[in-house]
Amino acid sequence: MPLSTQSQGDDEQYVLVANLDNARNLSNILKAITFKDHAIFTATTNGLKVTVEDSKCLQANAFIQAEIFQEFTIREDLVAFQINLTVLLDCLNIFGGTTTPGVSTALRMCYRGYGYPLTLFLEEGGVVTVCKINTQEPEEPIDFEFCSTNVTNKVILQSESLKEAFSELDMTSEVLQITMSPSQPYFRLSTFGNAGNAHYDYSKDSDMMELFKCTETQTNRYKMSLLKPSTKALALSCKVSVRTDNRGFLSLQYLVRNDDGQICFVEYYCCPDEEVEEN
């Protein structure tokens, strides 16, 4: 309450104002994509998109729809800036990230526009903290040109079973190979490590498999180091969709439920490892 009354008059100065009663609804999902320091924030009337990229081969996006926020006001069609994600997360958790039920940190995020810092008002138990984080010129996020029409194979799995496989993946393997096929082995994750190779096969008839639409047999390899961060998103999610297109690009989409049961999405795009020829 103190936050909203304070800044009523200032609102016209801000191109973006977003309020959340529980800052964890933002910070938890951002943790799923924090593998690099910097993130690109893009806000539209639909909500907030946060993008993190790695070596031009991997892109992670977190989507927080406008409906998740208690208030989401945007005065321009598109507001974008680049910010240090690690610092932002530190600020969002400034009250220590307590999980006492009923106690949460309220957040009011304000941005005046190009060149201005992102201002965060955080309140918990009557204590208010104001954080101003410098913003930078936003880089253009890579367009992986991944569109549904080019998707050759798609499966939707319950995260629980995939979590088990990912936690056991042989990290001495440089690549993670994903095979998707309308015939055996249907959906296979493979590693090639020091001790030998390992395969995790998911049958299309498995009760963990919610959707199985594979049109052709495809085997692609992706750098393990690039995909490893996606485990965080997997851990938060309840369902994951795995899609590959005709170029072998990988799209992983995670359905995440926040503290209040609302749905947010995290997606990862990854380029195939070029050295390996497909078989």
Binding site: S161, E164, A165, S167, E168, D170, P185, N194, A195, G196, N197, A198, H199, Y200, D201, Y202, S203, D205, S206, D207, M208, M209
Partner: protein, 389 residues
């Protein structure tokens, strides 16, 4: 080889692998007529463990008879197949183990719930035979206890503790931590537990002996025994003779053989490299042991005669297999190796290497097994010079 493990036995197999990993870095796999043998030995050859799973342990066990196949692989790789024991219990329905000789691969296939199939193709190397020679039935002291008793005893010692000394009398067993002679009295903490014979399921102490062995390797067995609920049998003999701990049930047998320090403290202190003859043996056995050792040395064709280094200091009985090597140095907990840690003198090393072959072969003149043993020991010369722990 093709075998299938189902249900709860998968977890038992996994636990056996994990407990073998506490002994050594490599897992020796040998499918035999009487079952699948999984073995491990530590780098200094002072601890050896073997699990034999009878054909009935498996829902299917088929091997090519007369094959004499054996291999070894990094135990970490096998552990990674059975990484999460709780998950294993909940989700694994059966485990297939298949050998592909053409590709030099051992394949573990875990059939899990929800239609998930995990396949691990592990590469292996051909290996020499690894078999410790011990005759626990000839041991003077035999005990059997529920694993809980031993676990509760061992918990009193810090994880960093290397060695414990177990002493037995007619009615009691004492377990205390072993403190090196050189340790300062002010810094040493002595912990001693006394167990009464009625705490054991079986307690037969014919000889009042006191043996010292490494605790770390014992813990591996205890973890296995506790999870399977099988009673642990302990076989003790004279110092120098390895202590054997076993768990048995109708379909499996696990044996942990741990070398013990041979000498009593007074001898140990004076024993040093190359000074075998100089080491003063226990006064009462002095003359006999000297003679015994010498005679034993002359008898065995393996050892080229310890003449260049002098007969090893005493062992208390004529059991050549285990005694001699242990007596050589004061860190003689290792049956064969012991001298490695203290000695840099090459001359001294040679006899010890030969002694190792005694542990793992038989004392009789060359058999096929023996012909490989000395080779092995010589090969391992370099690595054995490493300090244990």
């Amino acid at each position: 080889m093709h075998c299938i493990v189902t249900g709860g036995n998968v977890k038992v197999l996994a636990k056996a692998v994990h407990s073998l990993s506490r002994i050594g870095d490599e897992l020796y796999v040998e499918p035999q007529e009487d079952g699948l043998a999984l073995r491990s030995v530590n780098s200094s050859r002072s601890a050896y463990a073997c699990f034999l799973f009878a054909p009935l342990f498996f829902s299917r066990y088929s091997i090519t008879s007369g094959d004499n196949f054996r291999c070894k692989m990094a135990i970490k790789s096998v552990q990674s197949v059975f990484r999460s024991l709780t998950t294993l219990e909940k989700t694994v329905e059966k485990c297939h183990i298949d050998l592909d000789k053409q590709k030099d691969r051992l394949t573990f296939t875990l059939h899990c719930k929800h239609g998930l199939l995990k396949t691990h193709n592990l590469s292996f190397q051909d290996s020499e035979s690894l078999q410790a020679v011990f005759d626990k039935d000839s041991y003077a002291n035999v005990f059997r206890a529920q694993p809980r008793l031993l676990v509760d005893t061992v918990v009193h010692f810090p994880p960093s503790l290397d060695e414990v000394t177990v002493s037995v009398s007619d009615e009691r067993m004492w377990v205390r931590n072993h403190v090196e002679e050189e340790a300062e009295a002010s810094k040493a903490m002595l912990t001693e537990l006394c167990l009464a014979s009625d705490e054991f399921d079986h307690f037969a102490a014919q000889a009042h002996n006191s043996v010292t062995f490494c605790l770390k390797e014992l813990r591996g067995l205890l973890v296995f025994a506790e999870s399977t609920g099988l009673p642990v049998s302990m076989y003790l003999d004279e110092p120098g003779s390895p202590v054997v701990l076993s768990v048995t049930d109708s379909v499996l047998e696990g044996n942990f053989v741990l070398a013990t320090l041979s000498d009593d403290p007074s001898l140990r202190k004076n024993s040093s490299k190359g000074a075998h003859t100089a080491a003063p043996p226990p006064p009462d056995d002095f003359m006999n042991d000297d003679m015994d050792s010498y005679l034993i040395a002359m008898d065995t064709s393996i050892a080229p005669g310890p003449s260049n280094t002098g007969p090893p200091p005493p062992s208390l009985s004529g059991d050549t297999r285990s005694k001699r090597p242990a007596a050589v140095s004061h860190k003689a907990r290792i049956l064969i190796e012991e001298a490695e840690e203290e000695e840099t003198d090459d001359l001294d090393r040679l006899p010890n290497k030969k002694f190792r072959s005694l542990f793992f072969g038989s004392v009789l003149p060359p058999s096929s097994q023996l012909s490989t043993q000395p080779m092995t020991s010589q090969e391992v010369l370099a690595s054995d010079s490493e300090e244990e722990n």
